[in-house]
């Protein structure tokens, strides 16, 4: 049973429950106290010891159901009836007993698997599949492409070779029996396939997810397909969680060395001012203040979408975010993003300012007139855009003033460095006023860019 528990833990990891060895030890200790008899209690025990959040509890519950529901061996339909009769008729009818004995005679000289299939003993078949699965180390399955190979291995383990020989012999000697055996074999194949699919769902999910995320993280944001948008949103949320965990940790750190005289005297008043307890000055770190100015025209829109989603899901880390979107002219979009779901918010933003040809000069002008006061010496300004201004006046002078007012001015450009300065790209002119300029086309680059910005406040 320990083996099974280990497999279950592995499956649970696959389902996204983060399990450390210590937790699995606890779970085993707990299980040894409650036993396996009551399934509901067992599930509760796992939920208590393994899962640490509501999401994990749900994932673990699903995984539990999947793990402890083994697929039933399928009986070929026409054989199902006599089988049921066998089970329901307590007094052995002459008919079926003859049938059975007949099987016995005919099964002489057949392989073990063939006998098992003809006997229609479900429990025995299940047990055989389970044994063969562990012999074929089914729990190592990772990718859906491996389904065939694992099915083959399991069938090999069960002795399909011998069964094929038997079949060949029987077709010549006893076609009827051969027919039955072929049907039974089809059923068996189906069951094994199901077992393998289930194992893939249990053990392969993590790997498949990782692979997909890896591919997605490196794909250009502007070119992902609509059906991948949801996955990408999920990925962005993961990134946000990671950044939150990394940067939302204590921001107040005691600094030994500078005595806080006022607080020390106050604290020791009870002992006549004899300083038993000392209080030290704390240095407060500012949380990042961010002003994000995003181009939402054409090809940059997608990237802006994900960027805004990321920035706005960093509440714990970032104190204050104000977002602006522009193509031809510029508006503030912070409230829209705060109050609506990402899809609705983006749709609304696009209907307000999207679908125009971008005019950087005019948009910067709008910003300077309307919101320049939003920039303080603690603010990081992030501009996201391809700097393609359709040969209109780039107004780099405004960008210079923005850079002077702010702590940092970061320009994220979805285009590759090679393209900067070609055609109507004003990137070289803008980049002289930026603290940092970096390419930002994939989720991975996005994560690094945001991570660096937040880290500069730590």
């Amino acid at each position: 049973m320990r083996e099974n528990l280990h497999r279950f833990f592995r499956a649970a990891r696959g389902a996204g429950v983060r399990l450390s060895p210590a937790e699995s030890i606890d779970a085993m200790r707990a299980v040894s106290k409650v036993g396996f008899a009551d399934r509901a209690v067992l599930l509760d025990t796992f939920l208590l010891t393994l899962a640490k959040t509501q999401d994990e509890k749900k994932a673990l519950g699903d995984c539990f159901d999947l793990f402890f529901d083994q697929p039933e061996p399928q009986a070929p339909p026409e054989d199902g009836k006599p089988d049921e009769q066998d089970q329901s008729g307590s007094s052995p009818s002459s008919d079926s007993s003859e049938d059975n004995s007949g099987d016995g005679e005919q099964a002489e000289g057949l392989g073990q698997l063939a006998q098992m299939l003809l006997a229609q003993d479900r429990n025995q078949i299940s047990a055989a599949i389970a044994n063969a699965s562990s012999a074929a180390s089914l729990s190592d399955i990772r990718y859906f492409t491996q389904r065939g190979i694992f099915s083959g291995r399991i069938l090999d383990q069960m002795g399909i070779q011998r069964l094929r020989d038997d079949l060949d012999n029987l077709t010549a000697t006893d076609p009827a029996l051969a027919e039955r055996l072929t049907n039974a074999l089809d059923g068996l194949r189906g069951t094994v396939r199901e077992t393998v699919s289930q194992a893939l769902m249990l053990y392969g999910r993590e790997e498949a997810e990782n692979l997909r995320n890896e591919i997605l993280a490196n794909a250009p944001l502007s070119r992902i397909e609509p059906r991948q948008v949801d996955q990408m949103r999920r990925l962005i949320r993961q990134i946000a969680r990671r950044l939150r965990e990394r940067y939302s940790k204590p921001r107040k750190r005691q600094r030994r060395g500078h005595l806080d005289v006022r607080r020390t005297i106050r604290r020791n008043a009870a002992w006549g001012g004899v300083p038993f307890l000392t209080a030290w000055k704390r240095r407060h770190r500012d949380r990042p203040k961010i002003v994000a100015i995003c181009d939402v025209s054409g090809s940059v829109a997608r990237v802006s979408d994900f960027f805004l989603l990321l920035i706005h899901s960093l509440h714990e880390v970032v104190d204050d975010v104000r977002s602006f979107a522009f193509s031809g002219h510029l508006i503030e979009v912070s409230d829209i993003l705060e109050s609506k779901s990402p899809e609705e918010a983006m749709a609304e933003i696009m209907s307000k300012v999207g679908f125009g040809s971008s005019d950087y000069g005019n948009s910067f002008d709008d910003f300077e007139h309307g919101w320049m006061s939003a920039i303080t010496p603690q603010t990081t300004v992030i501009v996201l855009g391809d700097a393609r201004s359709n040969n209109l006046d780039p107004r780099a002078d405004i960008l210079r003033r923005i850079g002077e007012r702010s702590k940092r001015l970061v320009w994220l450009n979805p285009e590759g460095r090679m393209a900067w300065g070609w055609g109507d790209s004003e990137m070289p002119r803008y980049s002289t006023f930026c603290t940092v300029v970096r390419q930002c086309a994939t989720a991975k680059q996005l994560e690094r860019a945001v991570s660096d910005i937040v880290a500069s406040y730590q």
Binding site: K33, V34, V41, D44, L48, K52, K57, K249, W271
Partner: protein, 315 residues
């Protein structure tokens, strides 16, 4: 046989808690049973007012143990949670014993000898005498064991969490001047959290994680029955049904079990026999704590009462 015992013991926990007026779901009972068996703290999460603190009280009352409560807040530190030196007492004793010390040290011919003699007395002033035990240390020192309730751990700072780790995993604390204090009898530790902030993984790993949500209708009826015995069965069913309807609304603060019980008491006081439209409207402020929520719920009152009564007929 060994397989049958656990579920029986879990039931025993359920019955024991019920005797103290705490109606536990099976999952809660399992958690309490496991916490006893494998000596791990329980971390209880859930919305406010679902009986997280009550659980600790019920366990303490059921097992006849003392309950020690540590209320967490921002800025809670070692001195308030664990132990503190009684500086004033130390100071006073030094003053009083000044002459005595002089006598003792007076006999020493050289400075070195005096220092050596002083070393022998040195530990006197850093002994248990001068330690003021705070809740955590008190809990470890209870000879019969106790129930230690660390309430609203999410309100404390992250540093305090780390302080708890030693206590939670080994039931011991280290006081630099005295050494390690090991629990006389392992206390049953209950931590509660309203999920205001995410707790550290290290803390979560050391605990059984129990989430108490809003109870199911049947369970909530039983809770009301045990807490407010004077209420009639029809009214009980109706009001619990009504509250379950309210919880489907998108409100700032959903009414939880404590509000249900308060409301039941109010209805009994008003001698209601069944839910009436006017009465509900007048007493809605017991249930909902924000003006905006009351405004949102008010137009729905009649529909909800109708629904709750209908359920009553069929269920």
């Amino acid at each position: 046989m060994g397989d049958i015992r656990p579920s029986a013991s879990i039931e025993a926990v359920e019955i024991g808690l019920a005797a103290q007026g705490y109606i536990a779901s099976r999952q809660i009972a399992t958690a309490v049973y496991l916490a006893q068996q494998i000596e791990k703290p329980i971390l209880v999460e859930g919305p406010a007012g679902v009986g997280k603190t009550e659980l600790a009280k019920a366990i303490a009352a059921w097992r006849g143990l003392k309950m020690i409560r540590l209320q967490c807040y921002e800025g809670l530190d070692e001195a308030k949670a664990l132990y503190e030196w009684k500086y004033a007492k130390q100071l006073l004793y030094t003053q009083i014993l000044k002459d005595k010390l002089g006598e003792v040290l007076g006999g020493a011919p050289t400075l070195e000898a005096a220092l050596n003699q002083l070393h022998d007395f040195g530990d006197v002033f850093f002994s248990k005498e001068f330690v003021e035990p705070r809740p955590l240390l008190q809990a470890l020192e209870q000879p019969a064991g106790c129930v230690l309730l660390i309430d609203e751990i999410d309100k404390s700072d992250a540093e305090f969490e780390s302080l708890l780790l030693e206590i939670l995993s080994d039931f011991q604390v280290t006081i630099p001047e005295l050494g390690t204090v090991v629990a006389v009898a392992a206390p049953t530790v209950i931590l509660t959290s309203n999920s205001e902030r995410d707790l550290g993984d290290a803390l979560k790993r050391r605990c059984l994680h129990l989430h108490i949500g809003f109870p199911e209708q049947k369970l909530e009826e039983r809770i009301v029955e045990s807490r407010v015995p004077g209420i009639s069965q029809t009214l009980r069913k109706q009001m619990v049904g009504f509250i379950h309807e309210i919880r489907t609304l998108d409100l700032k603060k959903l009414p939880s079990v404590s509000e249900t019980i308060d409301w039941a008491r109010v209805l009994v006081l008003l001698q209601a026999s069944e839910l009436g439209h006017e009465m509900v409207k007048d007493t809605l402020n017991v249930l909902l704590k924000y003006e905006a929520d009351i405004e949102a719920a008010r137009p729905q009152v009649s529909t909800f009462i109708a629904k709750a009564s209908r359920q009553n007929v069929f269920g």
